[in-house]
């Protein structure tokens, strides 16, 4: 049984198919890359897995249970965390408070536990640990909206990690970062996998995808056009066409 299994997933907007019968699965403790040109439906796929959008048809199974009818917060509780392509931290919160929001998932559902103080030292301690994990322990008092883009992206990962996820969906974590930051973030992602978190990664930077992922799924116009190891995908003529256009036109 695969850890996450997506079957025949279809999403239509106003009659247009953003996703067309997409199938794939992820094994536990693996990193799956999802690539494809703009408009291929990658972010839509994440929005469906995380419950923000409802699929038109198809099914998603997570650890053997069907999750495609759940609300976003229920999916988050089930252990699926995500980041956004266009970062959306809680702008007026401090960095530490952003992480605490994610950490609160174990207290929100209970009528009494949700009335407890969130600024307990044990909670703060755990939040600081998570910040240290993404290398942001010195920024805990900064207001999130004032951070540079690179740190906002790290902060989103920290907030996601506070959910104690077993599956992490990263939507273009490298976009907008400087080259120097790529290696650091790639190291972090590898480390998370070592700790037992399964990762699905949307990324445009090919170098990063090829280095990090065991398997890659290629989407184009909502259709899965290829799946395989980085080497297989890189030499796939359909992928080359979808990505940089037909070879022969350059003649």
């Amino acid at each position: 049984m695969a850890f996450l299994e997506v079957r025949c997933l279809t999403k239509e907007f106003y009659g247009l198919r953003a996703l067309d019968r997409v199938d794939f699965s992820v094994e536990e403790r693996k990193i799956l890359g999802i690539i494809g040109p703009n408009g291929a439906g990658k972010t839509t796929l994440f929005n469906i897995i995380s419950g923000i959008l409802r699929p038109t048809a198809g099914e998603i199974q997570f650890q053997g249970a069907r999750i495609n009818h759940l609300k976003p917060h229920q999916i988050a509780m089930a252990g699926i965390a995500r980041t956004f392509q266009i970062v959306r931290p809680f702008g007026n919160f401090t960095v530490l408070k952003n992480v605490l929001v994610g950490f609160g998932h174990r207290f929100y559902p209970g009528l009494f536990s949700s009335a407890y103080r969130f600024e307990k030292e044990t909670h703060l301690e755990r939040a600081r640990e998570i910040l240290a994990r993404v290398g942001m322990e010195t920024y805990q008092g900064s207001i999130a909206k004032n951070l540079p883009l690179g740190l906002k992206k790290h902060l989103e990962i920290a907030r996601a990690l506070a959910l104690d996820p077993s599956l992490l969906l990263l939507d273009e974590p490298m976009a907008g970062l400087q080259y120097e930051e790529f290696e650091k973030l790639a190291g972090l992602i590898r480390g998370l996998r070592e700790e037992g978190i399964t990762i699905v990664l949307i990324e445009h930077n090919m170098q990063v995808v090829m280095d990090l992922c065991e398997r890659i799924v290629v989407l184009d116009h909502g259709v899965k056009i290829a799946e395989g190891s980085p080497e297989e995908v890189r030499t796939d003529p359909q992928v080359i066409e979808a990505y940089i256009g037909q070879e022969e036109t350059v003649a």
Binding site: H73, A115, E119, L163
Partner: protein, 294 residues
């Protein structure tokens, strides 16, 4: 101890503080703009008045019942508000205000245009002042508890970004309803105090202009902060009394004040970005240095 006039003003301001705090929970913390807050206040007051005059319930028994009923009605009225966002929400809440007021005015059960009179208060005017003061303090404690609890964190996350809050495990619908329930529960308290202090209420007391007054208080003081809600309620509560000598220009000054504030100090006088808190922070940062050098 004080003159009757002063006490009346003080009790009114105390009730306004509770109202401003309750709206601050819905609009300031949870980010759900409500332009119909007076409706919830009215529900509290009418509920309290009916319990007192029809069932003859004493003050302290009517109080918890009023709070509970108002909180329940508030969360029911929040249901149409969950379907709509931003400006649609703002106007829907105006609509709720007009409809609720119309019900009070036209349904004979609520006394119609005559309102409800003869609500008996067990307290003298001056002890009412102390009771109001105690309730204000209790509300302040409650508010402090709320913002430091997981509920408060969830509400503020929803204000910042609903989607991001949802993927962080927050049940947005439940917490929005909770904000309306807590907020209108407090207006229930304010309504109970008001009904028993005035001993007579009518639908005119809870119209849309009152909602604007309450909203102006929290915007004036600095939306989303407790100190702003309190100070806004005090200033805008005292203002009409101060301007009493220029009675004719009172409302004009009030309107002008709102324009002036929004134009030049849109964060409110105690909002984080405004002059006074900045000055305060500056002084606090400098003063140790001054002490040392002196």
């Amino acid at each position: 101890m004080f003159g009757g006039y002063i006490i009346t003003v003080a009790v009114t301001i105390g009730i306004y503080i509770i109202l401003a705090m309750s709206l601050n929970i819905i609009t300031g913390y949870a980010g759900q703009i409500s332009l119909g807050h007076a409706a919830f206040w009215g529900i509290g007051a009418y509920c309290s008045a009916l319990l007192s005059t029809r069932l003859g319930l004493p003050f302290w028994i009517g109080l918890p019942m009023t709070i509970a009923i108002t909180a329940l009605t508030g969360s029911l009225l929040a249901i149409p508000c969950l379907r709509v966002r931003e400006d649609f929400l703002a106007i829907t809440t105006i609509g709720i205000n007009f409809v609720v007021q119309a019900v009070f005015l036209y349904v004979p059960f609520f006394g119609g245009a005559m309102g409800i009179g003869g609500i008996r208060s067990p307290f003298s005017t001056s002890s009412f002042f102390w009771i109001t003061l105690i309730f204000v303090l209790v509300c302040i404690v409650l508010d402090r508890w709320l913002v430091t609890s997981w509920i408060g964190l969830a509400l503020e996350s929803i204000r910042e970004d609903e989607t991001a809050a949802a993927i962080s495990g927050i049940d947005v619908v439940r917490f929005k309803v909770a904000a309306f329930a807590i907020g209108s529960g407090l207006t229930g308290l304010a309504g109970h105090l008001y009904a028993h202090f005035m001993t007579f209420i009518s639908a005119d007391d809870f119209g849309f202009p009152q909602s604007i007054v309450i909203l102006s208080m929290i915007v004036f003081g600095g939306i989303g902060t407790l100190r702003g809600a309190i100070l806004g309620a005090i200033i805008l509560g005292v203002a009409p009394e101060i301007f009493r000598p220029v009675l004719d220009y009172r409302t004009l000054i009030y309107g002008g004040l709102l324009i002036f504030m929004m134009r030049f100090q849109p964060g409110g006088i105690l909002g984080d970005q405004s002059v006074l808190p900045k000055l305060f922070r500056m002084v606090r940062q400098r003063s140790p240095a001054l002490v040392r050098s002196g």
